[in-house]
Symmetry: D2
């Protein structure tokens, strides 16, 4: 029955959580019944997020009282590790943090600077990038680790080359994200409007936390540098991959074939703007070949808060609930 | 039956027309079956508008071949006057231009610098601002003149004061719009990114074409100046109206009462940002009272392409088709 | 001798203070020798402000050790009231806060919510808006209260009408500022890039603190509402003033005559963008007449950090030191 | 004597030409006496460029009448080839187009799709990147080919590695520019504000025209992709260069040493934003080492219209006139 699945969004007043609330407001089979907030429990969600029209009131998170079919965890590092074991079994759990993304807990600990408690979930958490992992494993898993935004755009751009055995050497990934990737926090002056408006800059030039997540699926070292775009949303990855002798047509055909049946990946004939996927769950990809240097150049764009977070989480929810994968997810971007 | 109404969008590759296509892609009872373009007939709509995922091919406009239930006219001044008579009777017609907005054709001619041909439509065109005109007249009219973006935001902000008999003197309306209001045209260097980015400016300081449209419903002269916001979307109107002795509470209660049953007008407790209605069909309104000067100050925000154009056009379509007025129209904004 | 005046900037790592450092780097007769910071004493100024190339090291503020000719105070409310008496006599003092702007201390106390200590400065502080006050009084005063950004743009736009006896009723001022007016503080999530980017909003709709400062010189109540532009710099004021029977030509002639000999005020024939004065000490003004309603509409633009703060402060310094008023101050904007 | 050199700016109403006018307005030894425009001859420069305060009137370009010491050519491809021979000998000539940048005319012809007429200049044109070529050759040359914006930022970032013999394989350069790099032309809808605002995109993914210019000095193939930043100014290049075994400290020391005496190149300890060099002639560089992959990552930022065009042109003028190289050129950026 339409709207019959009940959903809890834990951390609903942050950008990722609020985006799940927004997207589910037009989902035909799921309704948000619980929205929690650590700081703002008791307030109307729409006072915290004036762009939402919902009547939901924010509550404190009390795992034992969460009586829903699906729980989205949109909290900081460590929260899911602490609470997931109490939720699995009672509800499908989708975690938007990094807690369960890295299978090698040693890598997790070096990357995030905290121990991995490896809680007993009664089954393996699965990495929820549906286009690149086994969808049946996603459907069967008790907990989905929703991918990071940079890994989503990067892996969709480079995995066809890697799986086809074409990639040589170290892929170089130069990625750029809108500022909303930094979250809705007042901790830093760095994210003030006046500091960022009209400027563009690299950060975490070597050693970004998403680098190991990319390498886990890529199966090789990846040279990765992210940058900050002076825009709130949107993420682009330009991936330079040595492939030796090839052609633009052959590469495009490989990508077209790889994503032929994917509802959310579109291989385009012209370089895409992040703008064309804003608000949508699409990933648009452009492939070119640089004959002089023997590189494939693959450019992918996503909305970091949709395909890079909330939209992909709902795509995973659809798979876990046995719904058509694209249920309730927008395919058109908002432009201009 | 869901999706059963067939819709033509005439001028589908401009910002207004493409926005109708985007919004109708999630409308449960209407499907775009015809999309026309003067310049790009024969091309895929999605090549002209890479943000859309539709498979529609653009065609030339041939009125006699348009076999649909609803026609949206998204063309320049004069087009609707020329073609509307051939369309009414066969389909509901909603015109997004100014051709039929002004009932006094003398005012039309002075404002738009062209004669009004006053074609025989077999009935009166109606001004489609549902919150402020008689919805039954909209439902019954052969052709709806969809309001301008500035008049929509302004009239929703000032009419409660005027209808309550509170407004004294000349209302002063200081309005600001995102750049998309200027359309998708290459005629002018004025709208180049580099000319506008990071700047803000007034234009048409006296004598903007929407001024008479505002005054037609207001029933009095209105002092009106528009400005250009360095953002693509969003429109704000700050309306300074002398009301003499009053209070903030009394004014808010008046607005709350005026819009109590409206699905798309929301009276807020804090000054709204254009950002909170982006992509939505909402108009958010804030009312304050300046005791020292005896002015009511009313601030309203809309998305100029949704409530200010495409969304309001679909709201009118819903009324004409006898559907619930809010069918298929988003109430949440996209943020950040 | 060139560069011979020594200058202290108290609060040099904020936007206003750093802008004074930047502007003075090309001033032929003044050199910043002391730059203080409450939080960052001991650090290189250029580590706090990577856009500056200076070698200055930030120090703590110790009034008794400040051995300079001119002191710019760029601190929060209350600082100047506390320290000015220790500085006057030893150096020319220019205060960029509101501490000494309002001559009526009762109004000050109601506006800023703190008592005015009225320290003994050995003379009257003067309001440093050179185009509208007596320059000889500025030159002779021990301390200059540098005007607020909104009052600067507003008063330059409305005072010619008021002084000519043309203004009737309550002037309505609808003003808009770039985000840098809020300073370089991390106190609020409100000023995060993602919260403001692509949006526009009113704030302090009635009762902004600059309102009494405007009224002090205007000599009458003024209806004033400010807004936030999604840009870092730039400020525009659109002033709607009832004048009864007049003409565009007569009004422009009045403004041209009023500012004929002013190096920094330019009366333009087309509506100005904030962009055209960015980085410059200019105020560009456009005047129009709305015959239907009998209003003069005056639009003025400034860079809020230059003519609205640091540049005007240096203009005042030049007057106090007996230098040509425009020494070292840029007249060209940075575009695009 | 101050201001004694007379300067002509040919093409003064475009972004590059107008920036030369702006920068020279505070140059102590040079004065613009001639400003030409193909389209707007007879109009005041300040009507075309309202940000400038100059009183200059635009004139048609008549080479035989240009009686100045220095000519800046700011025109489209082909103009300098046609007119340079008539100017050299009478004045120092600095060309901001690509006409004389590529020494191999076969490469020029393939890149720009037009023949190179190789006019007789009475001497060799020199590539005017002072930090990387022989300054005495610049001083002695009859005509300077002012470098492109991308080559300036890229070459300053990679040449120290190449000259030290550290660079292995193909350098990968991922560059991003503000929109002003596209000029002030109305030819394309692509550069409309509404099409670009809030978005980020790659373009010319392989085969950008600046690629051969980079390779000419680098002496090897370079993998190069440019992108468009949603900002008017600023350019960043992230250069990924395989260097094998090294360290961050060793690389930084190499760059510090390479640029120790350069007034306009600054090696920084933190990743730079394009914002920190806006309006200045600086190039700020950050160097890092990715131990896992053996890559040096070098990030450089410039203002594309200053160090990437007009500022560097004046730097070359200073060298040609025997003035100190940094005369009249700003070192501070404008922030926020």
């Amino acid at each position: 029955m339409a709207g019959s699945y009940r959903v809890a969004v834990v951390g609903a007043s942050g950008y990722g959580g609020a985006e799940i609330v927004r997207l589910l407001s037009s989902h035909p089979c799921a309704t948000v019944t619980v929205a929690t907030s650590g700081r703002s429990a008791g307030r109307a969600l729409r006072d915290e997020c004036p762009w939402l029209s919902t009547d939901l009131t924010l509550t404190a998170f009390e795992p034992e009282k969460v009586d829903v079919d699906v729980v989205f965890l949109c909290q900081e590092a460590g929260f899911a590790m602490e609470h997931a074991a109490n939720l699995v079994g009672h509800a499908k759990v989708i975690d938007l943090s990094a807690d369960f993304r890295l299978k090698d807990h040693g890598v997790f600990e070096r990357t995030y600077g905290r121990p991995h408690t490896n809680p007993d979930l009664g089954g393996e958490p699965e990495y929820g990038l549906p286009e690149l992992v086994d969808r049946e494993r996603i459907a069967a898993s008790p907990l989905i680790a929703n991918p990071g935004c940079y890994p989503t755009a990067t892996l969709l751009a480079i995995m066809p080359l890697i799986r086809a055995g074409l990639a040589q050497g170290t892929p170089v990934v130069d990625a750029k994200s809108g500022v909303s990737g930094a979250g809705r926090s007042k901790k830093e002056t760095d994210y003030l409007f006046s500091e960022l408006s009209g400027g563009f800059k690299p950060y975490a030039v070597t050693g970004h936390r998403h680098n190991p997540e990319i390498e886990q699926l890529a199966g090789r070292p990846v040279r990765f540098t992210p940058h900050l775009i002076p825009a709130a949303r949107g993420l682009e990855a330009t991936c330079h991959v040595q492939v030796g002798d090839s052609s633009r047509d052959a590469l495009r055909e490989l990508f077209r074939e790889s994503y032929r049946s994917e509802p959310f990946v579109s291989v385009r004939d012209t370089p895409p703007s992040t703008k064309q996927v804003l608000g949508s769950n699409r990933c648009d990809i452009f492939v070119d070949y640089d004959a002089r240097t023997g590189f494939a150049v693959v450019c992918s764009v996503i909305d970091n808060l949709v395909k890079g977070a909330a939209g992909q989480a709902i795509q995973n929810m659809n798979l876990m609930l046995g719904l058509p994968e694209d249920t309730g997810l927008p395919k058109d971007g908002i432009w201009p």
